[in-house]
Structure formats: C-alpha cells, structure tokens
Subunit: 134 residues, 4 copies
C-alpha cells in the first residue's frame, strides 16, 4: 500500500490568531488529497455525478494533532485507501511538514460512502472504480 | 433609509496568524447580513429557488478596511439596499465594533443580480420582492 | 450534566456544491459552541492569553455524520464538558436541526489541552476555571 | 509588466450550494497569488515579520465577477504589481479558467500597506523589496 500524497502550502487563510493552522482547516487539506487521489485513478467526480448520479459523502472522520503547522509551511498530505466494500470506503491520512518523510503533524481517517446524488441513499461502489482487482 | 444590521461574533475560524480577522472573511460577514436582510423582508431564498428558479449572484463587490477586528470582538454588520432596478440591486454595507454606533472598521458595497438558477442569465426582480412601493 | 448549546444559522459560505454543509465546516460550528460555553462560564480567552499566557489547543477531534444540514437551516450545536483533568479536557458535542430537541445530524468529540501560548507545552488547567467543584 | 500567475484547483471547500465558487473565496485565491508573487521575488513574509517587524495588510480590495468557476476547475490566478510608493502598493489581478490565456472569470485589485506588526502603523516599504529599480 504505497503512500499517495500531495503538497499543500499554508496561506494566511489557513491560520488563526494563535499563529497556527486552524484545526478545521486540516480537514480541508485532507479532502484535497482525497480528491487528487481520485483524479490520479481517473475518477472524475463531475462525470460520476452527471452520468451515474453518484457522489461521495463523508460518514465519519477524525484527526489527532501532534504538532501545529504554521504560515508558509509546505505540507505533505497523504490519502491511502485502507478499505472499500459495498458502498463504503476508508482512507487513512497523515499530514507532514517538508515532504513525505517530514515531521509528522497529524494522523486521521475518513470513512466515506458512495451515495445517490438526489436521494442521498447508499449505492454500491461501481466495480473497479478505485482500480482494485475485480 | 434605515440601517439594517446584525451582530456577528468573531471566532478563531475568522482570524489569521496576524492576529486579526482575515480580509476575505469580512465578505462572509457581509453576506450573512444580506441574507438576514432578505429573511427580515420575508424573502425565502430556498423557496425563490424552488418555485421560481431564481437565485442571487454577486456581480461586483469591494471593501475598504479602516481598522482590524480581532478574536472575540462583537461586530455589527449592516446591509442597506441602496438601489434596485431590473435584475440588479446594490447594497452598501459597513462593519462596526461593539454595536450599530460603534467604531467603524470597514465600508463596502455589493452589487448583485437576480439570475436564473439553471442558465445563470439575468432575470428581472419579482415585483415588490424587496418591499419597495410598486 | 445539562446540555449547553447555541443556535447556528447555515449561510451560503457553509455549504458546498453537493447542496449540503461542507464536512469540515461542522468543526467550525463546534468550536463556536465551545467558545460560547467558555464565555458562559466567564472564561475570557483573550484575558487568559494576555494575563496567564494560556491558550486551548485541540488534540483530537472526530465527527460522525448522520444527516446533512442545508442552506438556511437553523442548527443547534451543543458543547458538554465530559471530562477535565490535568491539562486536558473533553467535550462531547452534537448538532441538531431546529432546536435542542431537533433531528440529530452529527455527533462528535473534541479533546483539548491547556497549553502555554509561547512554548505550546501543556499547562495544568487553572483551578476552578471551568466552574467545577474544587 | 509581465503577468505573474499561479494555478489554483477548485475543491469542494471552495464551492457553495449554488454549485459555483463562493464569492468570498476568490479573495482567498487572490491572496495565494500575491503570496507566491512575494515568494518568487525572494520576499519571505515570516522573515520580514521576525527581523523587521513588518507585515502587509489589505487596505482596499474589490472584484468584478464575469463568469462563475465550478468544482474541479483549474484556475489561473494572476498578481501584477501596478504601483508601489511609500508604504502602499497595488496589485491588479484576474482569474481565468484553464490557463493564463483561458476564459476570464473575474478581475480585481488589492491595495495593501506595509505596516508595523505590533502598532499596525504604516511603514515605508524597504528599498528594493519588490525588485524595482532603485
């Protein structure tokens, strides 16, 4: 299970008056990494919504904070698919400073579901969507 | 033209590492005031979208910053309709600290248009929508 | 343990193109409730920082999503202190639609620590800060 | 005056329930472009703050919206220094879809001032800071 990750630069918008990144904003970084993971696998969220009426929705998420990130830091945000079955899938994610081998700042997870864009009911993940063996 | 305004508390999410409110977030506060102005006039944006396919879209906006707001400040954010004709309307807005007579922090404007929710084309404001004389 | 809560209106800024509140923004709502809980106990975060050099920092947080909130919804966001010892404390929180007895949308927790504003090292919570018996 | 610009991907966090980018978030994109413009000129905001006690603060900003950006769009956000004298400087900026020659979505400006990080009083821009001829 290789570690997929993206670089994320910290801008003023991400920080708060304590001088560090505001805690909720790490969840925004995590979502960017998941979106790029999907793109890297050729999954176009817009196409999936338009052609199959499917969207992804977060069911449960959490983060543990080890060290704060600061303005201008260059972060490395990972997204690793840990499980996928039925309508559900799980990402484990971490955030590091200065690259994939950098100092660990946060670790977390995101459980999501594939749902119908209109009814919001769970829908089985399309076969092979995430490139897993069939 | 009386000054409609709402109280807005500044939370950590609104500030940045300079210790003050991040400049783009004042535009969020201004939109809250405009939404409450609409609600006070009985304009339900959801109903307008569902029944008439109309939404409001910002065309031009600007802000001049006089003094910074800080964490925990209680702001007063105004929305005053300055003009409305055809599909267009203009709000003039200001942000004060400590109430409607408080210290002036920012002054700005927001020009918006009534548009079709699907085609995004301009649509004449429904007659009497903003409570103006017919 | 009574349920402390605050009303939170959902504005456009809180939603995303799926038509619901963006998942990370619920964490902003939770922080507002915690800040108001502190204010209700007479804890001034600015004073605590200025006079004692203490700030609060999130150590671990999580949310489970049951139903989505939408634009214009009036939410009720709770903050209940579940534990406090040494430098650490835990809030359990939920988000409901339409008031304290309303439909349950999310449930979560926030573990935080009292830390030194400069060194970011843990510091024991000042005695009686949260109104607990001494 | 060459056009400096950066690519910005639109994520869910940037959009709202109208299906387009929320208007205040374009100001976040503009600030990212200005920060990268500074970095490209070798101006480290952290160093400037730590060593000279100088920060930049927005004085006046505005945006005109021509066409909306959508989820997953790849934007090109420019920052061009149009003027700099005394403590003040002006950027003119635009946002395009699909690259520097792409469809024009917004045009705007940002007037900023160099200020003392503590007193917030204007301070003359350090000589040659922006690479202009002396």
């Amino acid at each position: 299970m290789s570690r997929f990750s993206i670089p994320v630069r910290v801008y003023w918008e991400d920080t708060d008056a304590q001088g560090v990144v505001y805690y909720a904003n790490y969840f925004r970084f995590m979502e960017r990494a998941r979106s790029e993971w999907l793109r890297a696998r050729g999954v176009e969220q817009a196409t999936l919504a338009a052609e199959q009426g499917l969207v992804f929705s977060v069911v449960d998420t959490g983060l543990r904070f080890h060290r704060p990130a600061r303005h201008d830091d260059l972060l490395d945000v990972s997204a690793v698919l840990a499980d996928a079955r039925g309508a559900r899938f799980r990402f484990v994610q971490d955030i590091r400073r200065g690259g994939p081998e950098g100092e660990l700042l946060c670790t977390g997870h995101c459980d999501a579901a594939c749902i119908d864009a209109t009814t919001f009911k769970p829908r089985r993940l399309p076969r092979g969507l995430f490139g897993e063996p069939e």
